[in-house]
Amino acid sequence: MKEKKEKVLGSLTDLGTRMYDQINRRQFPWIKMPSRSTNNILYDDKTRQYILGDKNVKRSSRNIRHLRPLTQLVWTASFADELTRQRKTSTLRDVFYSAQAYEMDFVDQPESDNIITDLETVVGFPREDFNIFPEERSAIFGNLTIQYTIPGYEGKKLNLASHPDGMMIGPALTNAEFVDCKANKIIAIEKGALFTRFVEERVHDRFKAILIQTAGQAPRGTRAFIRRLSQELKLPVIIFTDGDPWGMHIAMVIIGGSANAAHLRDLNTPDAKWAGVWATDIVDYKLPSSKLTDLDVKRLYELQKDPRYHGKLWKREIETFLKIRKKAEQEAFSRYGLTYIVDEYLPAKLEAAEDL
């Protein structure tokens, strides 16, 4: 973790030094960064994620239209630098308000968010690495002991199975070191209700699993954390979502990343497996289901064209969805009794996931 911090800080300092020297050389300060326009976002088969192509954009303070965003960028960089050095955290919203103290006029938060994305592109690290976090909502539960590194908690240890509601995946946790792990897999779950059921049914014990609740689309911090868990602890990741195109895509973003984050690396877990709820599960388990809406169908056709969905499993499931025109929620298993999902479905799926 420490090494990474050094790299992030070094990258920020580089940015400042470059512009500092440009001004001293009587040049209008400028920066170059990869373009994030849609025509420069490519799917990379090797890393199995979206990446940015060769196109670059130059932001030069000589151009009056670039002047403001460039200034905002340097300010944001210096703000991030301070945060990281003082080991304080902040949110996107904080940044928007902090800017006002420096007469950095962001029109609205989307503008400041966009500048933060620019900064990520320029320095090559996600904002979480320079201590700017989104609102957190994901949680983790399992037999993993961590050791804090954040100020005031350094050296303290915590077993993540010590609180049955799970632990929030926030900066304190994502910056912690992993000390001891008794689990042999990670199960990511889309919904809080199922996460709670899994904890109650002691899935972490019975299946030696670390449970993660993504609460819908997993935040980037959570995605990075899942990757770290799987890499540092060498654990397989299995994902359970609702049986609909949106749930399927929640799994996909964990696995293959998003186009929005094409400028960043190390946010995805290419070897993670989506284990359900599949369209074929709806048929095989005769799950209570509802009809696909027009929007669902439209989304399925979009996904069909998406390079990330070219795998066999994905193709089959999309086709099945389109054939049966039905979707089902994770809770649909309750039809067979509250514990059915843990007693029957989960073991079957975990077994199936090994072959994926």
């Binding site: 920020l12 300092t13 940015l15 400042g16 030094t17 512009m19 500092y20 001004i23 001293n24 009587r26 209008f28 300060p29 373009s35 994030r36 326009s37 849609t38 025509n39 420069n40 976002i41 979206y50 196109k55 670059n56 954009v57 130059k58 932001r59 030069s60 303070s61 000589r62 151009n63 009056i64 239209r65 670039h66 002047l67 403001r68 460039l70 200034t71 340097v74 300010w75 960089a77 210096s78 630098d81 420096y102 950095m104 895509h249 973003v253 998003s258 186009a259 929005n260 094409a262």
Partner: protein, 460 residues
Amino acid sequence: MEPVEGPGVYNVRIEDNGLGLPEDVIPSAFGQILFGSKYKLRQTRGTFGLGGKMAILYGQITTHTAVKVISSVKRGKIYEYHLMMDIQKNRPVVLKRKVHKNKNRWHGTILEFSTEADYTHAMSKILDYFKQTATVAPNANLTFVDPRGRLYRYDRATTVMSKPPQETTCHPHGVDVETLKRLIEQTNSKHILDFMKKHFQRVGNTTAKKFLEYAGLNPKKTPKKLSTDEIVQLASAMKSFDQFLPPDASCLSPLGETLLKTGIQKEFNPEFIEVYQRKPAAYSGFPFIIEVGLACGGGIPNTGKPILYRFANKIPLLFDEASDVSYKVVNDQVDWRHYKVYPDTPLAVFVHLCSTKIPYKTVGKEFIADRPEVEREILNAIREVARRLSIFLSKKASHEKQKKRLDVFSKYLPKIALFSAKLAHRKKEPNVGPLLKSVLTYETETEEGSSEGEEGEGSR
């Protein structure tokens, strides 16, 4: 005027410090219609001298009171007349006459009369009239106390006066049968050849001979012996003969560019003024000169289109603007956008026409007919000043743009310097002075549209 509001009887008192009137003409000048001080050909304010008398007559009709006239010429005594008009006989009736001593050598004329009127209704037009009169008479001090007791002062801004008009003879193109008859009656020329040379401007021996040949008249003929038919023949030949020299403009008294500019400046205080006087031109044998002024910004309000001020022989024309030839030119013929004037540009156009005969369209004498010659002159004059205005406006725009640019750079560059120094952990901020200086001196190279594709957020 007495303090009255709305319709009612008003007492009007007018005083000037002009030349005054010789005692013997006072009764006729104010008590007889068509007494006519205007028999010679030169530019004058009115045509027949009816305006003032119509006001007095209207006062008499509505209130049945006399007009009091006090006048004195320099070194003369002061004469006071109380007059009424005998309308049937068109004769002045002197009710009272007084002679005062003139120790202070006052000269000028004072007029007092009562009349029915409606000040509330007329106020804005009266004030317009004053302001516009002051514009084209910047050498005059005008003072007006209105019925509400408010004092309006239009102070002179110069002591220079425009050159007074010289009397001239008629131009043959501008003569009708009646005028011709009158001239023949008055002349003592023995031959028509001599008559032509003597009574018409810019007609010499050669022209006169050529013309009479054209008209089919014997040059030796005595003018007084011409028959009515021959006079008509002569008059129509004068109109159609195309080898007369253009009319002489010395009978005109334009304001001149300096005075017009002074007048506009003092009454409107605009940010920009351009004035332009065209060379003399003529229509139907009457010489005329067009003067225009263009005022922009400052005291000129923004009304969404150019404000038009029209003047004829130094008199403001206040009514029927939309029927006037200038209105047509300003609103239909000039493409203002071409001169960088847009609907939100505060702009006023001043058009002054001076001529020995103003081509009014109606007897109301409020708007000028669209004679092609006059129209062309107005258009050309406005185009000239508009060209100068467009230069001014584009300079101003580029200056403003430059200033705005500098403002933006001055706002952001120091911040980039501050934060980059902070980021680089240097104590001293780099100096952005040279960069700011270069913003001023040259247009930065890549201005609009230089970024290689704006970044849009990719869809997931």
